[in-house]
Amino acid sequence: MRTIANDPVEAVLAVGLKDLWYPICPSEFVAERPVSLRRLGRKFVIWRETSGKLHALEDHCPHRGAPLSMGMALGDRIACGYHGVQVRFDGVVTSVPGSPGCKLEGAKATRSFHVQEACGAIFLYNSSVDVDQPPPLRLPEELTSDEFSNFLCYAEWKGGYRYVTDNVMDPMHGTFLHKQSHSMAEGDNTATFRVRETDIGFVFEKEGQRDVNFDWTEWADTDLHWMRLAIPYPKTGGPGGSFFIIGSYTPISENVSAVFFWRCRKLSGWQRDTWRFLYRNRLEARHWAVLEQDRVVLEVMEPDANQREMLYQHDMGIVRWRRHMRNLAKEQLAKEEATEQVKA
């Protein structure tokens, strides 16, 4: 088994790197009542003002630690259900009803987090310390351009989020695991891969085969880690060429992940509407069946399967990505150490 306690890099990666945006749940998960979500190594309480404006705090009352999510939302603040202490969206305690005027009033006593909504999901900036202004949320064009249409598919899988990335960083599994699927029956089952660097990450792609099967995958960092890939639709999918998948994965706990896949297509007018109709009516179910094949494999793998591997050329992308993540984790640790020293 992995010995996390002895490996600080592993400990950093297990809960997700800091100072990044992460999708944390579909928009619909948060309605009028405060919602508690375990993500990224802590619990968050998320709630909305009546205007729909979102707020997020650590789900921990500064008084005695009851979950704030058990309390009541009062616009931009939450009143804890245990003793009524009120905490504002910025983490400042605005009222201590049981002991008015006490020192806790006016103190910044709870971690606060920036949240933003886009493409059917709520994104949270996982800052290492509270910040006034997070970097902008930068999403790929498949999710922001009017030329594309998209649907979010959200699922929770019993596997670490890095297993989910490994799976997406491994295009060759499409040819085998998804052989029977509606869109991945074609193409060679041997291939040579190469890594191509981009400004924001890298592309892992087959040499000499494009738009036939799941032939390439991209990893990108825009203060949000996301992945992109394209899979050709069969003829019955109509005009519009390959459909794109944008993926982003967030740790819930060590062996459970929040998995976000946006299915996107470059279409307009009646063709876009027809795809959206077909997606609802039948394609979503077919896509789901393909994704279930991935989930099942992932969930039956032992949590320490990645400690006993014999990788070959098709796994180059995984190796490249893991090395990159370890480097980012080391940078984060160095930064934390530097701040500690300044404080000391």
Partner: protein, 77 residues
């Protein structure tokens, strides 16, 4: 969307708000068959639907390009 499950969230239908009607299933079948036959133009698609059904619900069964666009926009919304 369904209620949040206590355990983990696995909901195969997140895009639809209700089960499809029989008419929608038939329309989906027809459109897929048309696409499969290489029909990509709106006019050809409309002609195909008028040949194979289902009929247009807006106009005593007859599809026109305008009515198809109207109806599919409604179904896509």
């Amino acid at each position: 969307m369904n209620e949040i499950k206590q355990d983990i969230y696995l909901n195969p239908h997140q895009a639809r708000r209700r089960p499809p009607t029989q008419y929608e299933d038939l329309l989906g079948d027809s459109i897929e068959r048309a696409f499969g036959a290489g029909i990509h133009d709106l006019s050809e698609l409309v002609a195909y639907l008028n040949r194979t059904g289902p009929g247009c619900p807006l106009n005593e069964g007859i599809w026109t390009e305008t009515l198809y666009q109207e109806e599919i926009a409604r179904l896509a919304a």
